[in-house]
C-alpha cells in the first residue's frame, strides 16, 4: 500500500486539512474523513497531487460511514477526533499494510465470486427451493463484500497500486472444492460460513500487523461486518451466533 515515504510537515498537514475540508463540503457533506488515512496515502504517493490523494482517501473514508478520524486536522470534538489525538506509533509497517490491502482486496474478490456461484446455483434450481429470506441474505451479503472490495481497491489505487486484485487463492480453492457438493440451502450456508470465517480471521489478524492508519481502520471496520455475516449464517444453520469471546486472528 505504501511505497516511497515522504515526511509531512505541519504546514503541509494544515494544507491537507484545508483541502480536505473543501472536498468534504464540496463532495460529501457530513462526511468525517480519515485524516490519518490521508496521511498514509500521501506518504505512499508522494508523486501524486495532494488533491488526487485526498480524493482517493475520501473515497474510502466515505464507505467507512463518516466515522473515522479527523483528529490530525483538529476538525471537531467527536469521539473519533478525540481518539485520533493519541500518540502515533513509532514504526508503521508499510509492507504489512500493503500486504493486507492486497490480500483483503483478493479476499473480497473471492468472496463475491463465491456468492455469485451460490446465487447462480439458486437461480438454476440446483439448491432446491430457496426461501426468500435466504436469497435476500445471500444477495445483501454479496453486495457488502463488493463494497468491501471497492474500498480496498480505492485504497490500493490511492497508494498507486493496481486496483485489480487476484482472487484469494486459499478461499478460491476452498470454494472450488466445496461447491460441487452443494445441493441445498444448508450446504450453501455452510460454504458461505467458511468464507466468512476466513474473512473475519484475515481482517482481525491483519489489523494486528497493520500500521496505525488507513489499512488498519478499514480492516477494523470490515471485520465486524464479516462476523455479522457469520453470525446470521450460524443462526440460520442452528449454531451459536457468537461461539467465542474473542475473534481468531490466524496467528494464535
Amino acid at each position: 500500500m505504501r511505497g516511497r515515504r515522504a515526511g509531512i510537515g505541519e504546514a503541509e498537514l494544515a494544507a491537507l486539512c484545508r483541502d480536505l475540508d473543501a472536498l468534504h463540503h464540496d463532495l460529501l457533506p457530513g462526511l468525517r474523513a480519515a485524516a490519518d488515512g490521508l496521511g498514509e496515502a500521501l506518504r505512499a504517493r508522494s508523486g501524486v497531487s495532494r488533491r488526487a490523494v485526498l480524493r482517493g482517501g475520501l473515497a474510502v473514508a466515505g464507505v467507512l460511514g463518516g466515522g473515522a478520524v479527523l483528529g490530525a486536522c483538529g476538525g471537531g470534538s467527536s469521539p473519533a477526533a478525540t481518539v485520533a489525538r493519541s500518540p502515533v506509533p513509532p514504526s508503521p509497517s508499510a509492507g504489512s499494510d500493503a500486504a493486507l490491502a492486497r490480500r483483503a482486496a483478493g479476499l473480497e474478490v473471492a468472496a463475491v465470486s463465491a456468492y455469485d456461484a451460490l446465487l447462480d446455483l439458486a437461480r438454476r434450481g440446483s439448491l432446491g427451493t430457496v426461501p426468500p429470506s435466504v436469497a435476500t441474505l445471500l444477495t445483501v451479503t454479496r453486495a457488502q463484500h463488493a463494497d468491501h472490495g471497492s474500498a480496498w481497491a480505492s485504497a490500493l489505487a490511492a497508494a498507486g497500486a493496481s486496483a485489480t486484485a487476484s482472487p484469494d487463492a486459499a478461499v478460491t480453492a476452498m470454494v472450488g472444492r466445496s461447491l460441487p457438493a452443494v445441493s441445498d440451502v444448508v450446504g450453501a450456508a455452510r460454504l458461505a460460513l467458511n468464507v466468512e470465517a476466513a474473512a473475519v480471521e484475515t481482517y482481525t489478524g491483519g489489523a494486528l500487523t497493520a500500521a496505525q492508519g488507513h489499512a488498519r481502520s478499514l480492516a477494523l471496520a470490515v471485520a465486524p461486518v464479516e462476523a455479522q455475516h457469520a453470525a446470521i449464517l450460524e443462526f440460520l444453520l442452528g449454531g451459536d451466533p457468537a461461539p467465542d469471546a474473542f475473534a481468531r486472528t490466524g496467528a494464535g
Binding site: 466515522g67 506509533p89 426468500p132 445483501v140 462476523a227 457468537a242 469471546a245
Partner: protein, 187 residues
C-alpha cells in the same frame, strides 16, 4: 490509555445491562424465549471476558483497571432504555443498540491505538460485539413481525420474512460515528 479504560467501562456497562435485563420478569426481558435468554447470557459472559482483557491491557500499560460503568452511556441509553422495556422486542432493541455503541467504540479506538496490546484487544473483541448485535437485530426483526415462534436457532427458513435474516447485517461498514469519546469512561 483512555481508550482502553473507556472500552473496559463500556464492557462493564454491557455486563450491567444484561444483568439488569436478566433481573426483569422473563416476559419483559425476553428471557421467556430460550434463544434470547441464552444469547444474552452468553453475551454477558463475553463482555466480562472483554472487560478483563481490556483492563489487563490497560494495567500492562501502567493504567488503572476500570471496575465502573461508562456513566454517560448508562445515563443516556441504558438506564432510560431499561425503564422502557416492556417486552422482548424492547429488550432486544436496547441490547442491540448497546452492542453497536460498544463495537463501534472498539473499532474507533483500535484504528488509532498505538500499542500492539491495545490493538489486539480492540481488534479481537469488536467482531464479537458485532455478532451479538447481528443476532439481536435478526431476532428483533422476527419479534417486530409478530413471529416469536420463529425465534429459534435454525429457524424454518421458508417461514421467515424475506428481510429478517438480512436485518442482522444492515450496513457494509461499522458506523464508527457511534464511538464514545476516548476518555469518557476512565476514572
Amino acid at each position: 490509555m483512555g481508550m482502553l479504560q473507556t472500552a473496559a467501562a463500556l464492557e462493564n456497562l454491557a455486563v450491567s445491562m444484561y444483568s439488569r435485563l436478566a433481573a426483569l420478569p422473563a416476559e419483559r426481558s425476553g428471557g421467556s424465549i430460550p434463544v434470547v435468554r441464552s444469547l444474552m447470557a452468553a453475551a454477558l459472559q463475553h463482555h466480562r471476558q472483554h472487560a478483563d482483557a481490556l483492563n489487563a491491557a490497560a494495567k500492562a500499560l501502567g493504567g488503572a483497571a476500570q471496575s465502573g460503568v461508562d456513566s454517560a452511556v448508562d445515563g443516556s441509553v441504558v438506564s432510560p432504555g431499561l425503564a422502557r422495556v416492556a417486552g422482548a422486542a424492547d429488550a432486544v432493541r436496547l441490547a442491540a443498540s448497546v452492542e453497536e455503541i460498544v463495537g463501534a467504540s472498539h473499532v474507533g479506538y483500535g484504528s488509532t491505538a498505538g500499542d500492539p496490546r491495545a490493538v489486539r484487544a480492540f481488534a479481537t473483541v469488536a467482531p464479537v460485539e458485532a455478532q451479538h448485535a447481528a443476532a439481536l437485530r435478526a431476532i428483533g426483526a422476527l419479534l417486530a413481525a409478530g413471529l416469536p415462534e420463529l425465534v429459534v436457532q435454525g429457524p424454518d427458513a421458508s417461514k421467515l420474512p424475506a428481510s429478517s435474516l438480512s436485518a442482522g447485517v444492515p450496513a457494509s461498514f461499522v458506523r464508527t460515528s457511534l464511538a464514545r469519546p476516548a476518555g469518557e469512561g476512565a476514572r
